[in-house]
C-alpha cells in the first residue's frame, strides 16, 4: 500500500513539474497534472483519488497566478464524477466516454474561469490531451501493475 502511494505521489509530482517547466513550451496544449488525476481516479479507489486530487489541486493553485482555489475544486469534482460514473457504468467502453466527459468538463470550467471561449485552442487541447493520456496509460499501467484489459 505504501509503495503504491509513493508511486502515485511521485508520478503526479513529475507530471506537475512538467506542467511548470513546459519542456515543449507553448507548442503542446495539454495539462499533465489533470491527466494524471484522471488516470488515478479511473484506476484507484475513491478515497485515494480524492486525497491526491486535493493535494495536487492545492499544489497547482499555489504555483498559479490567480488567488482562487480553482484546481482544488476542479480536481475534486473530476475525481467525484469519474467514480460516480464508473460506479454506474461498468462496461469497458464507459472509460472512453468518462475520459472525454472529464476533458469536456475541464475545457468548460477553464473557459468559464477566464471568461472567454477559445474554440481553436480547445480543439487542439482535446487532440493533444488524448494522445498524452494514451501515452500515460501505456507507460504507467505496467509500472502500477494495472491489468491491460481494464485500461483499454
Amino acid at each position: 500500500m505504501r509503495e503504491k502511494n509513493l508511486k502515485i505521489f511521485f508520478t503526479l509530482l513529475i507530471l506537475l513539474l512538467i506542467d511548470l517547466l513546459k519542456p515543449f513550451g507553448y507548442s503542446l496544449f495539454a495539462e499533465f497534472t489533470f491527466l494524471g488525476i484522471v488516470f488515478i481516479a479511473m484506476n484507484y479507489p475513491f478515497r485515494i483519488a480524492l486525497i491526491y486530487s486535493i493535494i495536487f489541486g492545492y499544489l497547482k493553485d499555489a504555483a498559479s497566478t490567480g488567488n482562487v482555489s480553482f484546481s482544488i475544486f476542479e480536481f475534486t469534482c473530476v475525481a467525484i464524477f469519474i467514480h460516480y460514473f464508473l460506479h454506474h457504468f461498468r462496461k469497458k467502453e464507459a472509460k472512453f466516454f468518462i475520459f472525454y466527459g472529464a476533458l469536456l468538463f475541464h475545457l468548460i470550467a477553464n473557459n468559464l474561469y477566464i471568461h472567454k471561449t477559445q474554440v481553436l485552442f480547445s480543439i487542439f487541447f482535446i487532440i493533444h490531451s488524448s494522445v498524452i493520456f494514451l501515452l500515460i496509460n501505456y507507460i504507467l499501467s505496467p509500472w502500477f501493475k494495472i491489468p491491460r484489459a481494464e485500461n483499454d
Partner: protein
C-alpha cells in the same frame, strides 16, 4: 612594375569608394549635428511648455524559471525582481525587440510576467499611422477592440505601442484579419504577433 596596368583600375575604384564613403561620412556627421540641435531645441521647448522630459530606458535580461501550470494562462516566472529595480507595469521584449509582455507582480528576487497572448492581457496600441485600439490577448488569436469606423485600417498594418514618457516604439505584430460589422459601434481586427517563438527562455525588461 609595382603599378601594373591590371592593378590601376582596381586602385581607381578603391579611391572612388573611399571618396564616396568620405562624402557619406560628412553627410552623416552633418545630419548628426542637425539632430543634436533639434534635440536641444526639443528639450528647450518641452521645458518652456512644462512637458515632462523624456526618460532614458535601460534593459535588464531575465531567464524564465517556470510557467503557469494552467494551459489557459500565459504567465511566466522570471528570475529578476525588486533587487534589480523591476516594478509592476514594466514591459518585456524578446531578442528581436518585439513586445512580449508586462510585469504583473514583483518580489525581491523574482517577478511574474504576463505574456501578450494571456486572456487577461490588454494594452492601448496604435495600428499603422492613424488608428488606436485596445489590444486584448487570447489563446486563439490577439485582437484589437474598440476601433472606430472612421479609422482607416489595412491588412498587414503594423501594430505598435509607445513606451510612456519615451520616444521608443515597440512593435507587436501585423493585422491579419479585419472584422468590420457596420451594425456594431466599433469593429475589431485580428493580429499576428511578430514573436512566434513558443519555446521562450529569455526575456528583456525595459526599465
Amino acid at each position: 612594375m609595382l603599378f601594373s596596368d591590371q592593378r590601376l583600375p582596381a586602385i581607381s575604384q578603391n579611391s572612388k569608394r573611399i571618396e564616396n564613403l568620405e562624402k557619406n561620412n560628412l553627410l552623416l556627421s552633418l545630419e548628426l549635428k542637425k539632430l543634436n540641435i533639434l534635440e536641444n531645441e526639443n528639450n528647450k521647448l518641452r521645458k518652456a511648455l512644462d512637458f515632462r522630459t523624456e526618460k532614458n530606458i535601460n534593459i535588464v535580461g531575465a531567464d524564465i524559471i517556470s510557467f503557469d501550470p494552467s494551459s489557459w494562462r500565459r504567465v511566466v516566472l522570471i528570475n529578476t525582481g525588486k533587487n534589480e529595480g523591476l516594478k509592476v507595469g514594466m514591459y518585456a521584449i524578446d531578442y528581436n525587440g518585439y513586445l512580449i509582455g508586462r510585469i504583473i507582480a514583483v518580489k525581491n528576487n523574482y517577478s511574474r510576467l504576463m505574456l501578450i497572448d494571456d486572456p487577461e492581457f490588454n494594452l492601448a496600441v496604435f495600428i499603422g499611422n492613424d488608428a488606436l485600439g485596445m489590444l486584448a490577448g487570447g489563446l486563439d488569436s490577439l485582437k484589437i477592440l474598440y476601433i472606430d469606423h472612421s479609422d482607416k485600417i489595412n491588412l498587414n498594418d503594423v501594430v505598435w505601442f509607445k513606451i510612456p514618457l519615451t520616444a521608443y516604439p515597440l512593435y507587436i505584430g501585423r493585422v491579419t484579419k479585419i472584422n468590420e460589422n457596420k451594425e456594431n459601434l466599433f469593429f475589431e481586427v485580428e493580429v499576428k504577433s511578430f514573436n512566434s517563438n513558443t519555446l521562450l527562455n529569455k526575456v528583456f525588461i525595459l526599465k
